[in-house]
């Protein structure tokens, strides 16, 4: 293998390693979504989890809720802050989306940003879409 081939290979390798850097220079970056409280949520000021806890743990919380509702038909969730909530993602005023009205902003923007594709919406429907 001659030197030119080695150096070509090396350049390709370095470019590949640096791809996260130059890729973001040549493409437009979608900025991180800014969480915004809208509608009911803005006024409510209390939720099932604290802010950072919510960001990290909402998927497992929803998972626990699902099991609780489906298997034990227990729909009451007592949060750490003492309040009790209805375990529901999308049905009724007291559900997640009942309070956080805008699914696109509340769910999708972050999920898209982090490239997460939860299968919640294969069964649930965005209440806004029913109307």
């Amino acid at each position: 293998m001659n030197k030119n081939m080695i150096i070509t290979g090396l350049i390709i390798f370095v470019l590949a390693v640096l791809s996260p850097f130059w890729f973001n220079i040549i493409t437009t970056i979608e900025a991180a979504p800014k969480p915004e409280l809208l509608g009911n949520a803005k006024e409510e000021k209390k939720c099932v989890l604290e802010k950072y806890d919510m960001r990290a743990n909402h998927p497992s919380l929803l998972d626990e809720w699902r099991d609780s509702v489906v298997r034990d038909s227990d729909r009451q969730y007592k949060a750490a802050n003492g309040h009790t909530f209805e375990m529901s993602l999308s049905t009724g005023k007291n559900s997640c989306l009942g309070c956080h009205e805008d699914k696109a902003k509340f769910c999708d923007s972050c999920h898209t940003y982090a490239s997460v594709d939860p299968y919640c919406w294969e069964c649930h429907t965005n209440p806004k879409e029913i109307k």
């Binding site: 080695i6 290979g9 991180a32 960001r55 998927p59 972050c110 940003y113 982090a114 490239s115 997460v116």
Partner: protein
């Protein structure tokens, strides 16, 4: 003997703790989140390039492929074009199979000596090292590629497709990525081999255990964040995007485990060029694999070939002339 793996194990633990406590206790987010990752990438690239250029600067004086099949000779004898290539296409094919499918390792056999019964040696096909190595390398590759979701926004659809395929078993919540689990299992297998096979234990150095423990640490902390302890993904992505766009920021609410994970990755990057992990580059440059076996057909030139003192025919004849004449052997100079 224990030293060989106890020291690396302890080192990886300490490294983990340094980052964890550094962030949680001393609040050194900037150091572990920005400063060290940048340094690690620099060290990785500089070290890698330096090492490969060092190899490239050495000559390849002779064409010495290891031939693993029939040579090209007479037209009616079937040549093994891959294992004994005489063209660059054949070499390319051989290298592709070597690099992507670990073809040589696939041949691996295990020898056993049946003492007392028949005193015979037997060889059996030993596929597990090949399987383990393949599983390890490919799962690691997929894991690395998946992490590009932290470095791109919007995330390209090819990455989403990769995530989809990797999560196709749809197990648990969040959905299991096969690659992560395979990575951890494969590294544990490779570690078990080193510890349990007496021959491999004997040849193993601390430098063999260290990267294994390091990668196990990285995989375990990563898996832990995804499946068990949970982290704020969006927060982490703002940090990683900040890094790759040269406008680093430290998000709030991201805990020590993430920084420990990042620190172990940084250590792996920085350590890489200084270690056996350079086989990543070296496999391309191995003269026993990347050369065509055509030395008799095409002359290979040695850049440093120099003249040597030989014993010439004239010297030989001068020495033996009388005896040669007497024996009736032809000579150049009859005296």
């Amino acid at each position: 003997m224990n030293q060989k793996y106890l020291i690396p194990l302890t080192t990886v633990f300490l490294l983990f703790l340094v980052a964890y406590t550094g962030v949680e206790g001393a609040g050194l987010h900037q150091v572990f989140g920005i400063f060290i990752p940048y340094l690690a990438v620099l060290a990785f690239l500089a070290g890698f390039v330096y090492k490969v250029l060092g190899w490239a600067s050495s000559a390849v004086p002779f064409r010495i492929p290891t031939t693993c099949g029939q040579q090209k000779s007479l037209p009616w004898i079937k040549q093994n074009c891959i294992d004994n290539p005489d063209t660059s296409t054949g070499v390319l094919l051989r290298m592709v199979l070597e690099i992507f499918l670990f073809r040589s390792l696939f041949r691996n056999t295990k020898a056993a000596f049946n003492k007392n019964e028949s005193n015979t040696l037997s060889y059996s096909w030993e596929i597990f090292l090949w399987l383990g190595a393949l599983a390890f390398h490919y799962s690691f590759l997929v894991v690395i590629l998946r992490h590009f979701r932290f470095f791109t926004s919007p995330v390209p659809s090819c990455l989403k497709f990769l995530e989809y395929m990797d999560g196709i078993v749809q197990l648990g919540l969040p959905g299991l990525f096969i690659s992560g689990a395979v990575l951890l299992l494969a590294t544990l297998f490779l570690l078990a081999r080193r510890v349990l096979d007496a021959k491999v234990t004997y040849i193993s150095q601390a430098a063999d255990y260290f990267p294994l423990f390091l990668i196990i640490g990285i995989a375990a902390s990563g898996l832990s964040m995804r499946y068990f302890t949970k982290v704020d993904i969006v927060g982490i992505k703002t940090l990683t995007m900040g890094l790759v766009t040269f406008s680093p920021i430290i998000p709030e609410g991201v805990g020590g485990l993430f920084y420990a994970h990042l620190f172990l990755v940084s250590i792996l990057f920085a350590y890489f060029p200084a270690s056996k992990l350079m086989h990543l580059g070296g496999i391309f440059l191995s003269p026993t694999r990347n050369m065509a076996n055509n030395t008799r057909a095409k002359r290979h030139v040695n850049p440093w070939n120099y003249d040597v003192k030989t014993h010439t025919y004239e010297e030989y004849e001068d020495h033996f002339r009388e005896k040669m004449i007497e024996a009736g052997l032809p000579v150049d100079k009859e005296e």
